[in-house]
Amino acid sequence: MSDILLSAHNLSVRFGGVLAVNKVSFEVQRGEVFTLIGPNGAGKTTVFNLISRIYTPTTGHIDFKGKALTQMPPHAVAGLGIARTFQNIELFEHASVLQNLLIGRHVHNRTGFWSQLLFTRSVHEAELATRRKVEEVIDFLELQHYRDTLVAGLPYGVRKVVELARALSTEPDLLLLDEPSSGLNMEETSDMAFWIQDIQHDLGITVLMVEHDMSLVSKVSDRVLAMNQGEVLALGTPAQVQADAAVIEAYLGGADDAASLRRVA
């Protein structure tokens, strides 16, 4: 069993005249937290969308657990063990939190259409099992209070957590988190940091995330990839990348600013 869970080779994607991602290569080890950083428009979410198969790369390929990902249809990605959250929350607005999480268990459904129509014993057992699994996620993220509330009525911070919960319900091997702390206050961000660490250590899930909050990045990441204008700038530990001159130039600010950032981290 290889140590490398996901590998991207020479990924490029072109939208019309714009080269959004240009010859990006990286590998994500099993069990690590790997973060993509970079200014807006660097292509980070585009890389996510390539992994989720929303876009198809113009050149290059992605392998997951040794298998090629680039030919798979988008709905097959979850079945392979990849779950993601979206930058602009894509929850099911007219359903309750519980129903959102139950939908997350869809890939694990083994009951057929006709058994469901008759709601046989096996379907009943499957429903109970699904519910038990979802309750574990609810406990993990402390969403008990919101279980039956319609998503449409929830505040932003809670929705972000529900989005994470839904991704966790799929029991993924790789979790893609798109800007998990955007829009969250200090307390919520530190909760998020703890959860990411728990996800990594207790649940054994590999995390690939896009993030702008450098303190969060330094706190939880094992390795960081800095991107700018679709290209790779630097790859290494958080400290190494934050000290890299090119990264500081493109994203973190001048040399003096870098010093103050290191103090925060």
């Binding site: 979410t45 969308n49 929303i54 930058q87 602009n88 894509e90």
Partner: protein, 291 residues
Amino acid sequence: MQELQVIFSGIAQGCIYGLIALGFVLIYKATETVSFAQGELMMLGAFCGLACVSWLGLPYWLSIPAAMMAMAVLGWLTERVVIRPVLGQPAFSIVMLTIGIGYVARGLITMIPDIGTETLAFPVPYKDTVFNVGGVVLGATQVVVVLATAALSALLYLVFRYSRAGIAMQAASQNQLAAYYMGIPVKRLNGMVWALAAAVAAVAGLLLAPITFVHANMGFIGLKAFPAAVVGGFGSLPGAIVGGVIIGVVEALAGFWLPEGFKDVAAYIVVLLMLVLKPNGLFGEKLRKKV
């Protein structure tokens, strides 16, 4: 020779479809609402014109602007009273609302004693004129349809493309809140658009009236205008007219060449083909959600 005749009547009929489609594309472009009431507004426009000419005794050339004005006011009122309160609801609900408006219009007209259930002739000064162009007989009623449609669509295209109001309408249709923040008087614009669409429908009604006579079920022709809008591409004003003409011609030729029954469904078969081959229509825009 007969083909040309058939094609020309197809073009004229298609222009009517195009004008009705123009009405919905206008409303769609400005508010992203699909209005199924355009057919009935056309019917009301025709009745308005009839009222002006036959009962108020106005000369024909005065009745046209009068009917258009009356319908514009009606369109504005409809938007103000019925559509404005429901904006923000899912698109489907608004579609059902406009279907309801259509039912109300049709019901009210049918209820008018002595007139509602009749088919009435519309006296038009050019009714009996025909042109003979190289063996093809062109009724003046049809020629007027084509010319009026061309003029109207050119005018509207320019308004939308180059005027501030046109651009403002497009902005409001994509993101109402952002439009408000930019100082666009969204509500006022919406009222204007419905008034404009109703006036366009009135023109369609006045042009169609001499050909099919005025009756309460005229509005059902409006259903054929949807295929026209789809073929042209829902966000495109010239597309609506082009789509309409294509549908009209295909329909006319189908009636001429193919066995009975194909004429009625020709428009719908074209729509399905279009959705398979080029879902955004000939001139439509392809928008895609960015996550």
